[in-house]
Symmetry: C2
Subunit: 315 residues, 2 copies
């Protein structure tokens, strides 16, 4: 059983109807809903200290949760930060530098640190990042609204974070090198808050999710929630030249683009005619919603094959 199946089980067992989107949506006031989301980052599982700097890790800890607010089209407002830290890191300047990086991004998004906790750990660093935000009552974009015939879009090129992960595993490190732009997609990703909000306000979007696990996996979450299927057109998938360079072949590139996680771009569905009138730059149409419930197909050179969800699993 993987973590998605486990969550599905407890959701059913305890009737947890607030769970199932990027954020929980709770009533806030007569005009707005409260959005909240948590992300746990564990050393040597979700990140490695020798891949990053304390500042970039602080940035990433906030960015991954901001991305969940972005996926609902919301505005982030406050955050909680719980940090479990081993003695050795505590006595260094690590945490000061971590907060500097965290705060730099928080300032940019006007997010206030409202609380959290600090505990010692036996040896590994763990970070739980919670972000709260708001959205006009009833207007949050959920995963369950995709309709057959909608087009499927992403807000930017894909595979950068996974390609960077491969380079990091090969020993490449961020510094003054030519690979820094690519490596930053893994160690210091950006959350697509502004475009998320713009998409919600456009009224065109029917469903949205952030790309944290991988296109094939996240699109499957969206399709299951919407009771639809999807076809992705391989030739339409956006990626940058350096991803192709790392991949080395078209097949490897497709694997990275479809199954690599942590791009933190938004994937959304909408009627094509509505999106074309919005004049959005950096929004790419990658496929279409179909009626074959729970099935995602990849169209390549005119042929369609089944695309199983292949993103990262913790278990």
């Amino acid at each position: 059983m993987n973590e998605f199946e486990f969550i599905k089980n407890i959701k059913k067992k305890y009737r947890l109807d607030l769970i199932g989107d990027d954020c929980a949506i709770l009533p806030k006031d007569p005009n707005s809903d409260l959005l909240i989301s948590s992300d746990l980052l564990v050393e040597d599982i979700d990140f490695r200290l020798d891949w990053t700097s304390p500042e970039m890790l602080g940035h990433k800890a906030l960015a991954v949760s901001l991305s969940d607010i972005a996926a609902m089209g919301g505005t982030p407002e406050w955050a909680l930060l719980s940090i479990g830290i081993p003695e050795s890191l505590w006595s260094s300047k690590f945490l000061d530098r971590f907060y500097d990086g965290w705060h730099e991004l928080a300032k940019h998004h006007d997010v206030k640190l409202a609380g959290g906790d600090i505990s010692r750990t036996p040896n590994k660093l763990v970070i739980d990042s919670t972000v709260g935000g708001s959205v006009e009552t009833g207007s949050a974009i959920v995963r369950s609204g995709a309709r057959v015939g909608d087009s499927i879009y992403v807000t930017g090129p894909l595979g950068g974070a996974a390609a960077a992960l491969r380079l990091l595993n090969q020993g490449e490190r961020i510094g003054a090198g030519s690979k820094d732009v690519l490596l930053k997609k893994q160690v210091a990703p950006e959350a697509r808050v502004a475009i998320g909000k713009q998409l919600r306000e456009s009224g065109a979007v029917t469903a949205m999710i952030d790309l944290s696990d991988g296109v094939s996996s996240d699109l499957m979450h969206l399709c299951r929630a919407s009771n639809v299927g999807a076809v992705i057109v391989a030739n339409e998938l956006p990626f940058e030249a350096d991803v192709m360079e790392v991949a080395g072949s078209v097949d490897a590139m497709l694997d990275i683009v479809l199954n690599g996680g942590e791009d933190f771009e938004l994937l959304f569905t909408a009627p094509q005619e509505k999106i074309s009138t919005l004049n959005l730059t950096d929004v790419f149409r990658i496929g279409e919603v179909t009626g074959t419930v729970g099935v995602i197909e990849l169209e390549r050179d005119g042929k369609r094959e089944l695309l199983p969800p292949g993103g990262y699993r913790h278990f």
Copy 2:
């Protein structure tokens, strides 16, 4: 530098005015404020798996955060649960049983699980427990309202959790034994939500905090926030017979009662005449607020001595 000094530093550096109470207080709607708090629990630092059952650990993970809402006089409403879990525990029934215990207490307090995260860890279990609640606008009891001459109260007998911790360290385990009532104070504490709310509604209370670190330490947080001092009367400290039995001497008992943490009783200040008219059972007057800013004294056999904050520190 310990964790309290670190938090004080970043609070000052980044002007984090939402930090400093048991919960952050955020505006919610025209009638109420949002209360939120997080607590991180780390295996082998904050708990040991052989001390407890999965159900009791689930109970405790929620109780410690409910206690923060209680300390503000608020009503808990929703929760987030982030769990980092090693492979070995994942493949057992541990997490199902953990959620059972969590959910049992959540049901009692009408708290809904709204989200969270699950990640793998290399070897230790970590839990970050966040609870959100509400309170009438501007009515949350903070730490900073204590006034010279107020009496100091606690909502129940003290030292139970610390005495239990000593027994656990000596090899005692929860089961069908005669020590189970005491041991449960450490492994499955209760949050004092109802009395916290009652105290706030009484209008009598000037400041409140929950006893998570220890009386001497938590009272110091309250005194510093209120710019006052305090005197505690040793003979007035409430404790149960089994704490005295574990301690073995009056001095050891006083140390447990004053410096032992995790009782999760509430400590509050109020004018004595207001409290006496409320006919509260299980509320004990233990001392008085003084004008000697930042100084806590212990009065014992007519003599006063300095009481340094002696509760648990992670660093």
